[in-house]
Symmetry: C3
Subunit: 325 residues, 3 copies
């Protein structure tokens, strides 16, 4: 369930995709491609991508009909899957994804919104002034929505939620009893693009944000939606003010994150994690259950469960304090 919101403009003829990728392969016969997905969630008729040996086991089992990959990697691919050989897998995948999901590339302001007073069936929602609501928004019972807030398109809010003022949300699933304070930006695209002189190539972000039951999000948070997966704030996790959560990050339940913390893209945190103020976590890391990270730390490698770390780079807290007496 990576993508309940973005409109798939496919299917596209495989010849059209070959042309987009500058591939000249006479062995491929005309057929439609339905969607672009990752290796595990692809089905027959889909296109996937495979860019690193790390994923060879998944590539071997994929059910996709086509796979964007390289000459070096193609032998690891499932026999039923036709390789589309390119120089740069990620750039090519980005181009194809943008073709299937053109509205996921930019986050221009949502011009589908209307004044909340024009919406029907909001009987139990208590709301402030100057609120705008986009298309495909649902709001549960007994919710509060503060002044000047914009619930842009593709948002589902559960019951008993309190949304503050001046907050902007899109492409987000919110559970029950969630509190989101003022000035937040939730669900915008992540900081993902391919650097290119003169004009960077933006990577499509077709994922969403999911905020589970009983969470609290402090003032001024930015929580970016996933690129191909979901950015998750687990049940009963509390975030203090001015926190930045990048795309694809997953935070487990019952975690506590103090002010000004930043978590870079695709890192996965366990449950009962405690992070002190201003700490930073690099991208693509795994932080185990019950980990405690001291304020101001910079975490640049995986942290096993039940550890307490401090410093930059973060290490065992006793060792750090001993080294820095």
């Amino acid at each position: 369930m990576a993508n309940p919101f973005f409109k798939n403009y496919g299917p596209f003829n495989v010849f059209e995709i070959l042309k987009l990728l500058n591939i000249d392969d006479n062995n491929i016969k005309e057929e439609n491609i339905n969607d672009v997905k990752d290796l595990t969630s692809s089905s027959k008729g889909d296109l996937t991508f495979f860019h690193s040996k790390k994923y060879k086991d998944l590539a071997n089992k994929t059910k996709a009909s086509y796979c964007i990959t390289t000459n070096n990697l193609k032998s690891d691919l499932s026999e039923s899957c036709i390789p589309l050989i390119v120089e740069n897998v990620l750039i090519s995948t980005s181009k194809v994804t943008a073709k299937f999901y053109p509205t996921s590339v930019n986050d221009d302001f949502d011009d589908t919104v209307i004044d909340i007073n024009e919406i029907e069936n909001l009987n139990t929602v208590k709301f402030g002034k100057n609120i705008l609501i986009g298309k495909n928004v649902s709001i549960g019972s007994n919710c509060l929505i503060g002044h000047n807030t914009i619930i842009e398109k593709n948002v589902s809010i559960g019951n008993n939620c309190s949304i503050g003022s001046n907050t902007i949300i899109r492409n987000t699933l919110i559970g029950n009893n969630v509190t989101i304070l003022d000035n937040c930006n939730i669900g915008k695209h992540g900081f993902g693009f391919f650097p290119k002189n003169k004009k960077n190539l933006r990577y499509p972000h077709i994922g969403i944000v999911r905020i589970e039951d009983n969470c609290e999000i402090g003032c001024g948070a930015t929580i970016d939606r996933g690129s191909m997966s979901t950015t998750v704030i687990g049940e009963n996790t509390f975030l203090d003010n001015q926190i930045h959560i990048a795309h694809n990050v997953k935070i487990g339940e019952n975690s506590i994150i103090a002010g000004q913390v930043g978590i870079a893209g695709s890192s996965i945190l366990g449950k009962n994690v405690k992070i002190g103020g201003q700490a930073g976590i690099s991208g693509h890391l795994r932080i185990g259950d019950n980990v405690e990270i001291a304020g101001g730390s910079g975490v640049i490698k995986d942290i096993p469960e039940n550890s307490t770390v401090m410093g930059y780079p973060a290490k065992n807290i006793r060792q750090f304090l001993k080294d820095n007496k």
Copy 2:
């Protein structure tokens, strides 16, 4: 003067409080409790709390009629004060505070606000468009209030103040000649709660924020109100952009705090303090007068007056630079 704003829903019968705390004590006789306060500010008829040996001198002198405490601590209590014995003093105090001050637990949007154009006697206030003003707000002469700003309930603004646009303020006392720039959030509850699996218990914040004369607060600041005391920005102190000041922090006069600094809960800073960009200060510390903290430092222990520190953990700047050549 911790609490000029929140409505006290008491008095409550002591039997009602005993029931709330699951205390079965036949020696206590029926009587009303007026308020919940800290050890020093309590009077006869009030309830207080005592949770650490550190405060035994204050406990010995308290004038409160009742005190939430533990079996271990009760012998240090003033003779005139009846102990209410519990397992966890802070959680029990939180429950009782929430009973007396139910509106201090959450910071849902202020639905008492009205358009500033509907308010009378604002002759000398110059204001922008789409401004909302809550109940119990007073604004001095010659003030400016920018567009889309929300002065929520319980705010007093002095003379000659300039408030920017898109800013939200509540539970705050502002002196004269104060400048607050855009996109600030001032007076929301602090990041204080008791962690509890499945559903954290929010701690009531019955304190306020006080911003003294001639201060400047940069864009995007978050300044949380105190839990039982006041968060203070001292006279003529200037804050740069994107600063986070947590609950109960007190900053002395004539201080200068650069961008993206964060100060955790209950730390107390002297006057003439200078803090470089992105520095962080842990909670419950004391920073003396005339201290200078280099940008990027992480302060994790008290700093005596007239020191200059740098690093993480912050230490004497010469030592730091020598150690890091």
Copy 3:
């Protein structure tokens, strides 16, 4: 081109300037001063300032008619330039600048704005609700402007730009194909003032911000305008969320800056610079082309081109990782 926007209230009679600076000099004869500028951009009839030996070569060549300086420095001044001797050059210059450009001292909300619907000739601009536009604003073709955004006075926006919602911009030149996301504050005065007990003296900021073609600015950015020069975000440079760029900073083209980075005043960065999340750069530094700065680093000295640095203070990344195994 430091100042296309602020109104010059001069010329002023030199005697008026002498009085303002408490200078008693019978050798100076009555004449008008047109403007206050830096050493290099001054012409005949202008006043400039010279406060450090570092600039003696520029002082020797200045075309200004007058120069605020000290007794120690005056001998380095061009012969055609009359020195105005003061104790503190910067405070005196600040006073004179404030006289020429009184509107550059404060950033009170812009009361010249009107609703965007009242503006003509915006045929190709697509805009949201509740948008305010100030005086001296121009917007190119095919632009998007989101809800609740305020384009304050003195802003020029090129073609094909996308401005988000809840964003505030003033004193800024924006190129073509620029994306600015939500909740940004661009063009406010920098954190520049002279500390003074009881009441700091604000320094005028008569500079601007320039954002060049193809840039992206993430949510919650603060980019301050220059004091006497321009704050520049170079072509095709991308900024992630919650970034703070102080006054006079210049960032070269094709740079990539991750979330929560802060760059202090007057630092100059080359092109193709990559900065990881939460890194900080002190003021008045020079960072060469193609430099990479690891996330969380604190840069406190110049970095030569093509280097990769990490740590606090930032040093060669291999050295840092070796020292911190």
